[in-house]
Each structure stands twice: as C-alpha cells, then as structure tokens.
C-alpha cells in the first residue's frame, strides 16, 4: 500500500452485509456484532479498530465464515468472491481456508502446534490439497522466510515453535498464511504481544509481503498508530457496531464521531513533571539473578522520591519486573542494598515485619491473576484492612465502601466476584486493595498494559488523583512510552538488566538520547501514516552511514 | 442317615462285589421301605457300577496353599491329605467305610498287657513305588519322623504316648505305650503318618514322594495341583482304577462349581449349599452327602465370667435354634448336635438326655437359677472356623433375644483366626473334624491336660473315666464309661455343639463307588483309590 490512496484497487473480494453474531455465556445468547456492513476490494487492506468487546476479532473470523465455539452467526450475508460463506458447507469452507483465506492469530506462540516443526506447519495447507509438491512448497516457504527477513531462512524451518522468538514466530505465521498466496489474510492483533522494537520489524515485514503479492487483508488491532501504518481504510467499531469508516489519512486528520475523537485524545494525557529529592526508597548497586546463573539485575541503582512517580521503562527481559521482585523481597538481591526511608530493608520477604510489608504494596499487570477469582470484593479489599489495621465487621465494610468510592466504584460492587467485573474495574479493585494498606510506596507492574486505551487513561488519572490525596509514591513499571509520558515525574530506562538512563521526564524524553533510548523512542508507532516508511528509510540511511 | 439306609448302602457295595445276592438285597431293600421295582433297579444299577479300569480323574479341592509341603507332619488339610496321603500313600492301618479300623501296611495288629503293648505285622511283599520292599525299619523311621525335639509334626502329640518302637524281625514292629490305649490302631491310621522309605542315614525320605499308595507322584505344585499316575503293582486288590489322577486346588467355591459344571473336573468337595438344588438338578451330576465326625461348635471358656456358671452355660445351650440354623444356614445339610462331640456313627456314641433344643423358657429358667434375668456377651466368629459360622451366629443372636440373651456377634478376620481368636477370646466359633474314637476325641479336646482344650473345662470325674476307659478291654464296661463321660460333657461342658456337618460333595454321574467312608471328606480321603469311571 502506497503512502497515498491512489493505488488501483481490484473488484470487490469480500462483501459483508448486515452481519449479526451472538455469543453464549452460561446458557444465555447475547449479541456481539449487531449488524455490520463491510466491503473489501482485491489488494486492499482494511483496518478494524476498537476496544476489546467491540467485536473486531469476531468479525474478522466471520469474514472466513467461522464462528468460535459459543458464538453463532445469526444474520447477514458473507460473500467471498461469489461464495456465500454463511451457507457454505464445512467442506467447501475447508477448501477455501488456508488456500484462499488465511488467518494470522494474535499469539503465534499459542497458535503454532508445539509438536510439529515450523516448516511442516508452513507447508501443510499447500501440500494438503496437492496445490504443490512438498519440495516445491518447502522451497517456497524458505523463500517466504527470506522475504520476511527471518534469520537463516534455510534452516529456521527445522526448528520447533518454542525454539524461536515471538517476533520470528509472528513472521513465520505470516509465511504460513502466505504459503498458498491467498486472496485474503485476516491479521488478528498480530503485533500486540510484541515489544515495540520488534514490532517495527514485524510490521514492516508484513506490510511488504502483503504489498508484494497484492493480497487483500483485514488488519485487526486496538492500536491506532499501528493500523495507521498498515491500512488503506480504517473502520472504527464499538460494542459490535460500526462507529465510522474512512480512508486512513482522512480518519486521522478529522475523525467525525466523538468516540473516535476520544480514542485520539488518550495520547494527549500528560502529567505536570515535578522533581523532589526527598527520597523514600533507594536501590543501590543491586545485582539479582534467578538460580544464581543469569544475572537479571546488574548493578542497578534507582531512587524513588516521596509522593512522586518514577517510571521504569524497558522491553521484556530488560529486568524491570525483576527490579520489583527485588524490592518486594520475593527475589533477594545477591549484591547491593535497598534503603527504605534511609533504613536498609531486609532482603528476604520472610525477614520483614508486618508494618514494612504494609508500607510497600504492589499492583500487578493482570488483575485476572492478581485477584482471587473465588473471593468477593469485600474479602479482597477487606483483608488488608483486617490484616494490617485489625478493622473488622461493620467498620471494615464501611472502610471498604469508602475505598470503593475513592476508586470511583459504586459500593454495590462489594459482593461481586472479580469475574463479574470488567478489566478496568478489576484493576481499580487491585488499586483499592493496595490503598487499603495505606502504603507509602506502590509498585505498579505494567498495570495498564492489559487495558483498552480509554480505560488506561481513566486508571492513570485515578492513580494521579490518589497520589495527590495520599502523597503515595509510585514505582511505575511499563513498556509503553505513552503511559510513561502520561504519569511519570522521573524515568528509568532499563536494558538487559542494566539502567541505561535515569532522570527527569523532560530530560529523558528529549534529545540527546543514549543509543538505546533513541531506538526505543523511535520505535514507538506514531499517528502519522508515513511514520513507518520514514523510520525504515532513516534507519537504512543510518546503516549506510555506519 | 438312618441306620437301615446304611445297611442298604453297604449291601449295595457288597452286591457290586457279588457278595450279596439279588434276593438278599431285595429283602433288605423292602425292609427299608424301598419298593420292589426300585430295589431291582438299584441292584441292577449297582451291577452296572461294576468297577472299570482307566480314565483321567480330576478332583477340585477347596484347600491347598502355596506353602504346602511334602512333609506329612505338616499336612494341613484335605488337599495334602487326599492327594499326598490318600492317593499316594498308606498308613499302618486304615478306617474302613463302616468306621472300623483295619490293617493297611500292617497286615495285623494285637494288644497285650492292658493295651500297653502293641505288635504290628507288616504286610508281606508290599513295596514302595521304587520297588523296594517295606520293612519294619521303614515303619519305625516313618513314625520316628514325627517325634524328637524339634519335630514340627502335627502327629507329634498323637504319638506322645509311644514310649518305644522296636523292630522284631524284618516285618514286625513292637510299640510300648506309656499307658494302655485300646484305640492305638486308630491313632496310627492318621493321615499324617504314611509309611515312607528309610534313608541310609536312618532318617526318612519324605521329600521324594516315594510311598506305597495306589498312584505314583507325577508332579506337585503347592497351591496349584498335584498329579499322579497309576501304580501298577499296588498291593490292594480291586483298588486304584484310574490311569491318572489330578488334584486341583480351587479355593473359590464358585470356581469349583463351575469347573464341575463345565466338565473340567469330575469331583468337587465342599459344595456351596446355597446352590445345591441347582447342582442336583443338573442331569450329569450327582451330589453325595455323608454325615461325618466333623462338628460345628461354639466353645466358651468356662474359667471366665459369666461362663463359669453351669446354669449360664445351660441357658446358652437352650438358647440356640439349632434346627432353624440347620435349616436356614446349612439348608438341612447335617445333623443337629446335642452338645456331645461324638458323632452318632462313632462306636460307643450315645445321645445324652435331656436334648438341648431351642427352648427360650428353659433358658430363662436357668438364667434365673444363675440369678440373672438377662445376659449379654461377645461371640467371636469367622467363616475361617467353618463356613456359615457368621450367618449361624447372627441367626442365633436374633433368636436368643427371646431368652433374654443378647449376643454381640464380632466378625474376626479369617486370616489368623486360629492363632488370635481361638483359645484366646472367651466365646468363639470352632470346628473339629472329629476323631474315629471317643477316647481320641476326648483326649484331644476335653481332657484336662489336652493341648487344645478350647473350653478350658477340667472335670475330675470325666478325666478319671477317660484314663480308666483307655485300658478297659471289656467292651460293655467301656461303653458304660464312655456313655457317662458324654453325659457329663453334655451337662457341664463348655461346648455348644450346633451340628455335625455333612460332607456335601458332588461328582460326575459316570463315577462309580462303594460305600462312602465317614471319617474324612472325599471318601475318607481315599477317593482316588476307591472310586472308578463307569463309562
């Protein structure tokens, strides 16, 4: 897809009209997609964007004539190149799937069969219907690997899924989708699970290949900046309905609907930076390692001022979460010391007294795993109250209600189970649980990364409000630069267990950058549809220079 | 089995051997109330049952363990008894079908000196399976095997009255007893005392299985099977008809029954009484039933409360519904006991009066005499004592309530019952396979000094009679003494003799036999020697 929309489009390839889909949750059918029209021309790339629950993946799969178990297509037509996929038999669809319509799933790691080598899975479809001989298919696969810039394409096919990195897997899956040169590929959040720096490469690779073979594609994501790079047209979805649809540039320039505008707005949130040198927690030259072999923290020094927010950024494997474990005492440091209000903090968890434990609380990335699904909100928030402050019975419930109020939740939630709350609400509960302890420090480990952008914003605002009220300090671990901008006073950049840079937000986020910071920042997708093109160009130049 | 039928059977047996004419037989038959036609057909059938040589005889026995050994001193039960004694070997004497002792390896025997000295003559020309002739030395060695310091033999106690054994010439053995015992010939008929070849070192060769019997040992797999082939030069005329004999240890009664039904075996012991009617209704199968010496009893320790009071004991005796139990649990297979351990078929047996039958009123009376109006005690039982012990006990418990007696039935584990319960718990189920003589039975279990005095009952009068009767050679006097002893035991003893059990066994129709012995199961354990195929 060129930077402008002048590219010649073929005839309609896919036509969806009045698509209605229902989902089943314990015995009850409720609408997921409430009547969506969608047209896709040959060689065209359509971006489907929306928050979770918008029904984008469901539509994407429906475009293949497939509904997940527990879902059913109840109305509308799905016309793929003259074939009505709604009425088509399993057998007919099976012929199309893989051969003419291919699917690239979000988590390649989970979607590759762990028992088979990549190459076998790549060529499976191609060889199955005798479209080509195995040798030919293999040769072709290797070629695809090469085009997708996979390292040593000849041999990588011989590896098993668990032996290659996430980014490579995602590309391998694209190769698998391409193996039969389909007319249409469904990309279902293909880069969501990847680090920014990896994401860049994968995006580039996918975009090129789709362009080369002039394949039509539906690109599903929640990340505007990403879709801006990939799609010719963007369709915004919400609660199973189309909000608006327009060519990419138009959409970015002047979104019409308020909802779309709010999506854009998220990017604007930014905290007023304020520096302080009243340090409450300081980590000094800490080394830490799992089972004494791999050093995950290498001479790390970080200091957290009272009532301020220090954001720790880095990609997966940078050791930022390990830092949190070291501070909480889950992973006692092998070297260095941690000072809390000037006093050294005993390294191991079991050596810390109740009060110390109370003062340092933690909030996890996934509220699903950090809230016990079998406990009601009352128990979850109430427990710290009982445990630390000995508040019981009615008093406890009153306090719980206050806390719920402070996290802007109605106290009627008090008897709910976590499973009955939305992602955002759950995360609020974990915040409340942390607050209940009345801590001095809260360690936030990727607390927003699992959430939709709008929800992210709400949570971030809430955290800031709470900081104002209680003067609590945040150690905010994240990989998302936007979030960092939004919340931090100071930033710590980590890479391979080392601290690359620590300093005030303004300083870190503005040149001159250390090399890694540069790479990191530049890899963050921008709203500009030309961003990727330009970035690749500039990096190419940089290579040439070097 | 009433006495006339006995005769009739005997007569049939005789008839087969041509010793009874059709007329004699028919008269006997008519006398016992059998119609003429029936008598005729019986007679002819008997003739048809004329012994025939040949055939492979397979027997399923409800005993046998992987620990069974060739050592006759350790034969625990029917399996080793029937296979390794009754089929393979002979003792000095044997008990015939009518319960009389007759010579076996010994041709003759006579007592002198108040039955303290016994002279046995070894039968002429009788040989072992290896062709060697049996001599007095072999006999002595064989019996010596059970004596001596570390003998583990069950026969040890039987022979403890033997003061000395001497060979007088190649085929005469002289026994000196510590006290007179008119029944000594019975003692040496025991299945633990087969005659075995003497080894050069003076000890006896029990391992090889070389004996004198009607069949030679082919293979013995403990707990599985024992197989035999015919001994062509067996000394006994008209015995040992089969070519081969195999005994299979089939402990599960259902499996045993099925084996018979499916024709895998031709003979089984210890039939399951519940399904006996079905078995009988099978045209190819005959069920035989012999009331033997064996009796199912419950024994109380008379030295312990409340059983130390004779009135309590009597009350308990009257509280047992023997008839009901016989009818329900044993489906009528047996003869109700009367608290006398001597089987009616045994010489000198009497039936003491008053009969102890189910009589709650009387039981109450005796309780009163004992100064009680109700009674409650534990009764330890397990089917290891005898099949049906548990069910009988429960039935008893139910009925005894009427007499104000509350029996608390405790089911003990079968495993180790004889070690941990019998002779230990105050009131237990027990079983005696019985002995062929009054003296032997009483000496074993009711004499004050008996090793297995499971009632701990010591009655002076009883004991002096016992000793006296032994050396008493005058039949009449002896009978009187034994009668009195049985009466004393019945009135005062600690045993509740529920019933004499019948050996209920089944076999294929095409097997023939003479009169069946009552002293042991499986035709006195000698089924293989005595039976034959008719077709």
């Amino acid at each position: 897809m060129k930077s402008d929309n002048q590219r010649v489009k073929g005839a309609d390839l896919l036509q969806i009209r009045g698509l209605k889909i229902e989902g089943n949750s314990d015995g009850v059918w409720h609408p997921i997609v409430k009547g969506v029209d969608l047209t896709l021309k040959r060689g065209e790339v359509l971006g489907l964007i929306g928050e979770s629950g918008a029904g984008k993946s469901t539509i994407g799969l429906a475009a293949m004539g497939f509904a997940r178990p527990g879902c059913r297509i109840v109305d509308g037509t799905i016309n793929f190149d003259g074939i009505d996929l709604r009425t088509a038999s399993e057998a007919e669809k099976r012929k199309l799937w893989g051969a003419r319509i291919a699917y690239v799933a979000q988590s390649a790691a989970a979607s590759f069969n762990p028992a088979h080598r990549l190459i076998d899975q790549t060529v499976e479809t191609a060889t199955r219907d005798g479209i080509m001989t195995r040798d030919k298919a293999v040769a072709d696969a290797v070629d695809l690997y090469r085009r997708l810039q996979l390292p040593n394409p000849e041999t990588i096919g011989g590896r098993y899924p668990h032996q290659v990195s996430g980014g490579q897997l995602q590309r391998a899956m694209t190769a698998m989708a391409m193996s039969c040169r389909p007319d249409l590929i469904i990309f279902d959040e293909p880069t969501t699970a990847l680090d920014v720096t990896t994401q860049v490469e994968v995006l580039a690779a996918m975009r090129n290949i789709v362009e080369e073979f002039h394949t039509a594609a539906i690109y599903i994501t929640h990340d505007l900046a990403v879709v801006a790079q990939m799609a010719d047209r963007i369709m915004v979805l919400r609660h199973g309905l189309e909000v608006e649809e327009a060519p990419t540039r138009e959409m970015l320039r002047e979104p019409k609907k308020d909802y779309t505008k709010t999506l854009w707005a998220v990017r604007k949130l930014a905290k007023e930076e304020s520096i302080s040198d009243d340090v409450t927690l300081s980590v000094r030259n800490v080394d830490a390692s799992y089972s004494g072999v791999v050093k995950v923290l290498d001479n790390v020094t970080v200091s957290l001022p009272r009532g301020r927010t220090v954001a720790v950024v880095g990609e997966s494997g940078s050791g930022k979460s390990t830092l949190a474990r070291a501070i909480t005492g889950l992973l006692p440091p092998s070297k260095g010391e941690i000072l809390f209000n000037g006093k050294p903090l005993s390294k191991a968890l079991k050596d810390r007294d109740k009060d110390t434990l109370r003062r340092i609380q933690m909030i996890y990335q996934s509220a699903d795993t950090s809230l016990n699904p079998k406990q009601t909100i009352r128990d979850i928030i109430g427990r710290p109250l009982e445990f630390y402050h000995g508040i019981k019975g009615a008093a406890r419930d009153r306090r719980v209600a206050e806390l719920l109020d402070s996290i802007e939740l109605n106290e009627s939630y008090i008897d709910r189970l976590p499973t009955e709350l939305s992602g955002g609400q759950k995360q609020r509960i974990s915040i409340a649980r942390a607050l209940a302890a009345e801590p001095e420090i809260i360690i936030c480990d990727e607390v927003t990364s699992a959430l939709d952008q709008i929800v992210q914003e709400e949570i971030l605002t809430l955290l800031m409000k709470l900081q104002k009220d209680t003067n609590v300090s945040y150690l905010f671990i994240t990989h998302d630069i936007a979030t960092v901008r939004a919340i931090s006073d100071e930033i710590v950049v980590m890479h391979r267990g080392k601290v690359v840079q620590q300093g005030p937000k303004t300083q870190v986020l503005n040149p001159p950058y250390p090399a890694y910071t540069e790479l990191l920042l530049s890899s963050v997708p921008q709203m500009d549809p030309d961003w990727l093109t330009n970035l690749l160009a500039s990096r190419a130049q940089a290579k040439v220079k070097a | 089995m009433d006495e006339i039928k006995h005769k009739l059977n005997a007569a049939l047996g005789q008839a087969v051997r041509g010793r009874v004419t059709r007329r004699e037989f028919t008269q006997l038959a008519l006398a016992s109330g059998v119609s003429l036609a029936a008598a005729n057909s019986m007679f002819t059938k008997a003739w048809a049952d004329e012994p025939k040589k040949g055939g492979n005889f397979k027997v399923g026995v409800g005993h046998g363990a992987t620990t069974d050994s060739m050592d006759p001193g350790l034969y625990p039960d029917q399996f080793t008894g029937t296979a390794l004694w009754g089929t393979l070997a002979n003792s000095l004497t044997e008990i015939d079908a009518d319960g009389n002792v007759v010579g076996d390896v010994a041709e003759s025997f006579e007592a002198s000196d108040g039955a303290k000295k016994w002279v046995f003559k070894v039968r002429n020309g009788i040989t072992f399976h290896n062709g060697k002739t049996v001599t007095a030395d072999d006999v002595i060695a064989s019996l010596q095997h059970h004596l001596g310091e570390n003998s583990k033999s069950a026969a040890k106690s039987l022979l403890k009255e033997v003061a000395s054994m001497k060979a007088d010439g190649p085929n005469t053995v002289v026994f000196e007893l510590t006290g007179g015992n008119a029944d000594f010939p019975y003692t040496v008929s025991d299945y633990h005392m087969p005659i075995m070849p003497k080894k050069d070192d003076g000890s006896v060769d029990w391992e090889s299985g070389i004996r004198t019997g009607a069949y030679k040992l082919e293979k013995f797999e403990p707990g599985v099977q024992a197989s035999f082939t015919k001994n062509e030069n067996y000394y006994k005329p008209g015995k040992g008809w089969f070519d081969t004999v195999q005994f299979l240890s089939i402990k599960d009664v259902a499996a045993r029954t099925n084996a018979l039904l499916s024709g895998e075996i031709q003979y089984m012991d210890r039939c399951d009484l519940k399904t006996l009617d079905q078995l009988k209704s099978n045209p190819d199968i005959t069920v035989s039933e012999i009331t033997g010496y064996g009796h199912y009893i419950y024994v109380m320790n008379v030295t312990q409360k409340p059983f130390d009071d004779v009135n309590v004991r009597t009350a308990i005796k009257y509280s047992m519904p023997r008839e009901d139990i016989l009818a329900t649990v044993f489906l009528g297979h047996g003869t109700v006991g009367n608290d006398n351990p001597i089987a009616p078929t045994v010489k000198f047996a009497v039936d003491p009066q008053p009969k102890h039958t189910y009589d709650p009123a009387k039981a109450k009376e005796y309780l009163k005499k004992a100064g009680l109006d109700s009674l409650s005690f534990d009764l330890s039982v397990a089917d290891a004592a005898f099949a049906g012990a548990v069910d009988s006990a429960i039935l008893w418990k139910e009925k005894a309530k009427a007499a104000g007696i509350d029996i608390n039935v405790i089911k003990e584990p079968d495993d180790g019952y004889w070690d941990n319960v019998w002779l230990k718990k105050p009131f237990v189920a027990s079983y005696w396979s019985g002995r062929p003589t009054v003296d032997w039975m009483m000496t074993t279990a009711y004499a004050a000094d008996a090793a297995w005095n499971d009632t701990f009952w010591k009655n002076p009068r009883f004991n002096e009679l016992l000793v006296a009767a032994r050396s008493e050679t005058d039949e009449a006097k002896r009978a009187a003494m034994y009668a009195e002893m049985q009466q004393i035991l019945h009135d005062d003893g600690g045993l509740v003799n529920m019933l004499f059990n019948s050996y209920v066994e089944a076999h294929a129709k095409n097997l023939g036999h003479g009169k069946v012995a009552a002293n042991w199961q499986l035709d006195g354990m000698r089924v293989a020697e005595r039976w034959w195929f008719t077709s």
């Binding site: 469901t58 178990p69 406990q375 | -």
Partner: protein, 300 residues
C-alpha cells in the same frame, strides 16, 4: 469470544446463588440430570433407610431364598433376611462408609498436596517418596495386610482405605495446586505476609476445588469397589451390616446358575446393579461438572 464476557456480566445485575444454580441446572444435559436424580434417590434411601425399608436390616423374616414378589419384594437372602430392606440399608452403609473414607482421604491428601506444592523443598521430597512407595504397593494386598494388622472393623477399614487413597489424592492436589501457587494473588498474599494456613485454605484451596470435587466423585466409586473386592477376599464389612459389596460376594455362587429357572437367583445382581448404577450416575454428573468448570465447549 470470551474476551468481552466480563464486560457483559458487569452491566448485568449480579445473580443470586439460587438463580445461578437454576441456570446451571437448566443447562445440564440429560445424562447429568439422570445422574443427579439417581444420586438423589440413593441419598434419600441412605438417609431414610429405617422408614423406607419394610423390614429391619438384620431381621430374619423368612426362610432362606424365598422368591421375589409377594411378601418380599426382592425375595430373601441366604438366611432369610428381606433382600429389599438390606439393599436399602446397604445404600446407607455402602455410601456412608465410602463417603467418610473419601472425605478423610481428601482431607489428608488435599491438605498435604497443597502444602507441599507451596513449600516444596525437603518436606515435599520426603512426602512424595513415601507416597510413591504407597502407590507402588497394590492397594488390595496392602489393605489386606493392614486390616490383618489393625484388626477388622469398620473404623479400621475406613482409616486404612482413606490412608491408601489419600496418596492418590495427594498427587492430584499437588499437581493442580502447582498451577495455582504461581498465581499473582498467591504472591500478593505472601507479600501481605499471610500465614501458610490462610494461603492454603483461603487462596489456593478454593481454586482447585472443582478439580478435587471431580476427583472426589471418581475416588468415591473406587472406594466402594475396593470395599467390594475386599469383601470378596473375605475381609468385608461386619455382619449383619448390609453392604452391597459383601452382598454380592456372599451370593456370588448364584451368578453362575441360569436366571430364569430360579426366581431368587438374581440375588447378587441387585447389589451389583446398585453399585454400577450409582457409579455411572456419579460419573455422568462429574463429566458434566468437569465440562462446565473447564469452560471447554465441544463443537457442534
């Protein structure tokens, strides 16, 4: 499309427990219904045995092996007790004993399993080794020996079977718990400084309960099959206590004679069928339960 399920729920008002159960039951397949009804009947029989049974448990009411029908609904047994009554009391004893045993084995095995999963280290090693040893010895024979040692009584039977069974429960509980103890909420509890007891019973146990309950159903069946086998080998349950296992064993010889000709022959069949039916019923329910909790939906 599980992704938005929570959102949907959050807008819906919270359901009462009763409503939940009702919905769940409504969605139950036929097999599950069948199972539940059968179990219900058994439980009722077990609880109200004395009122339901026409005669007493051990009461001798007639002659041995009276034919079914007429005075005795299913005829009488080997000493003339009413078979139907014994069948009903059998429900009480068999189910009761099996239930207690299983409960006990889960109490032991479950707790230890979770504990070791949390603690690991030498304790884990030690227990696991012993458990392996127990698993390596055939249950029947070992039970036989232990019963001979401890003496034959219902209490001992229960204790011994529970002990032997708990080793199997232990394994499962441990394996399942291992997946839970890595959860953040367990870590959160540790960070809070919670005691082991709280973590086991409040954090972990509730989350492995479905698996345990499922296993409970199956173990339950195995237990009374084991009891049946033990009865067959002659170390059954104390008479006159009626227990299906021993009832089958007692009348085993009746199995091999033609049914038609003798109306009372089916004697062993009733208890056997009682056992079979219950096991099947339980498994149906368990299957369904498993299916629900695993959240897995078969296609079609």
């Amino acid at each position: 499309m599980t992704a938005q399920a929570p959102d949907l729920r959050s807008v819906r008002a919270r359901r009462t427990l009763w409503e939940n159960t009702r919905r769940t039951l409504a969605s139950a397949p036929f097999s599950a219904w069948f199972g539940m009804i059968v179990i219900l009947i058994y439980v009722i029989a077990a609880i109200f045995a004395p009122w339901l049974a026409p005669y007493g448990e051990a009461e001798v009411v007639g002659k041995a092996y009276q034919p079914a029908g007429g005075e005795f609904f299913l005829g009488t047994d080997q000493i003339g007790r009413d078979l139907f009554s014994r069948l009903i009391y059998g429900a009480r004893n068999t189910i009761g004993i099996a239930f207690v045993t299983t409960l006990l084995s889960f109490a032991i095995g479950g707790t230890l399993g979770v504990l070791t999963a949390l603690k690991r280290g030498w304790l884990d090693q030690a227990i696991s080794r012993v458990v392996d040893a127990f698993l390596a010895i055939p249950v029947l024979i070992f039970a036989l020996m232990l019963l001979a040692v401890a003496g034959k009584s219902i209490i001992n039977l229960v204790l011994i079977l529970a002990l032997l069974d708990s080793t199997r429960v232990f394994r499962l509980a441990r394996a399942t718990a291992l997946n839970v103890v890595v959860m953040d909420y367990v870590e959160a509890a540790k960070l809070r400084g919670e005691k082991m007891g709280w973590i086991i019973f409040k954090e972990v146990l509730p989350n492995i309960l479905p698996v345990l309950i499922t296993e409970f159903g199956l173990r339950f069946c195995f237990v009374f099959l084991t009891i049946a086998a033990l009865s067959f080998l002659g170390v059954g349950i104390q008479p006159p206590t009626a227990d299906w296992g021993s009832m089958v064993a007692e009348s085993k010889t009746l199995i091999t004679f033609p049914v038609r000709t003798f109306p009372w022959i089916p004697a062993p069949f009733y208890p056997a069928m009682a056992i079979a039916l219950l096991t099947v019923a339980i498994n149906f329910v368990v299957d369904w339960f498993l299916h629900k909790t695993s959240g897995l939906r078969d296609e079609k």
